[in-house]
């Protein structure tokens, strides 16, 4: 760090703190997925296939999420149906 660095703006966060923030978010996200059962991706695909038999949707129109609380697991299924013509 030379003399000119002292004149630079001090307001920007350091790159290390940016790294820490990014890591905390991604690690928390990946940990929440860690305890998902192995069958979830396949089940998700099959649910999409069943819905597709009746409604024309893309795979991005279905969101499936499994939330585990203490003694209760909630499978949340969110389907965006196409607009009626």
């Amino acid at each position: 760090m030379g003399i000119f660095d002292y004149f630079k703006s001090k307001s920007a966060p350091s790159s290390a703190s940016v790294a820490k923030d990014r890591l905390q978010i991604i690690v928390a996200h990946e940990r929440s997925k860690r305890h998902q059962p192995d069958y979830l991706p396949q089940m998700q695909q099959e649910i999409i296939d069943v819905i597709r038999k009746y409604v024309n949707i893309g795979s991005e129109d279905v969101q499936i999420q499994l939330d585990n609380t203490d003694d209760c697991s909630i499978l949340e299924l969110n389907v965006t149906l196409p607009e009626q013509n």
Partner: protein
Amino acid sequence: MAKIIVVTSGKGGVGKTTSSAAIGTGIALKGHKTVIIDFDVGLRNLDLIMGCERRVVYDFVNVINKEATLSQALIKDKRTKDLFILPASQTRDKDALTIEGVQEVLEELAKEFEYIICDSPAGIEKGAQMALYFADAAIVVTNPEVSSVRDSDRILGILQSKSKRAEDGKAPIEEHLLLTRYHPGRVALGEMLSVSDVEDILAIPLLGVIPESEAVLKASNQGTPVILDTASEAGLAYMDAVDRLMGEERPLRFLEVQKKGFIKRLLGG
């Protein structure tokens, strides 16, 4: 009963083999009979770091396939009493290691050795899973850098779910964080994650911090574990880590910025 310790990281190039060699040597220096096993089948390097590459005749896979006995494959370290190395094979066959084969070798080693250090390959594939499967303790080698920290967290997840201890519902693997290539000057400038940043994210007990040091490359050039270089900060930091692993209290050191003269700082040296 032997203690099986895996040295792992997920990411490659963070210092697993350097750390396995240093820590294995350090434990043996304390008078415990120790063996270091190279699990990196196809890319063996522990032999080079330990300086015994010209003495490899038989390897881990030969023992598993019963082409050689364990005593034929074990290489006795020339410098450190009570220390042995079991080299990996250079075969390209990734399925050379089997759970049953590894278990058999570990059980036989456990009769004779107090500590078995498993030097894991990088990645989360079969080789890495095999290295950690039977472990009682894990040393997770991490650099203060985003991809290494993330991969370490990934490996922690595997330790907690895919190890024998996890599958058998036994007490979980003891986890230890070893932070390597630490640069106190860059941490002070906010350019590198600090020890406490990494501890906050990974949330496992800290075994040691190894400062970035020229001694590490010098040691590997010469085939000498860096822990034997007692004039180097890295060597001393590894010895501290071994002491902590053995349950002794050692304060952290080499974490402060070395003071530079005013003129040097002014010129940005």
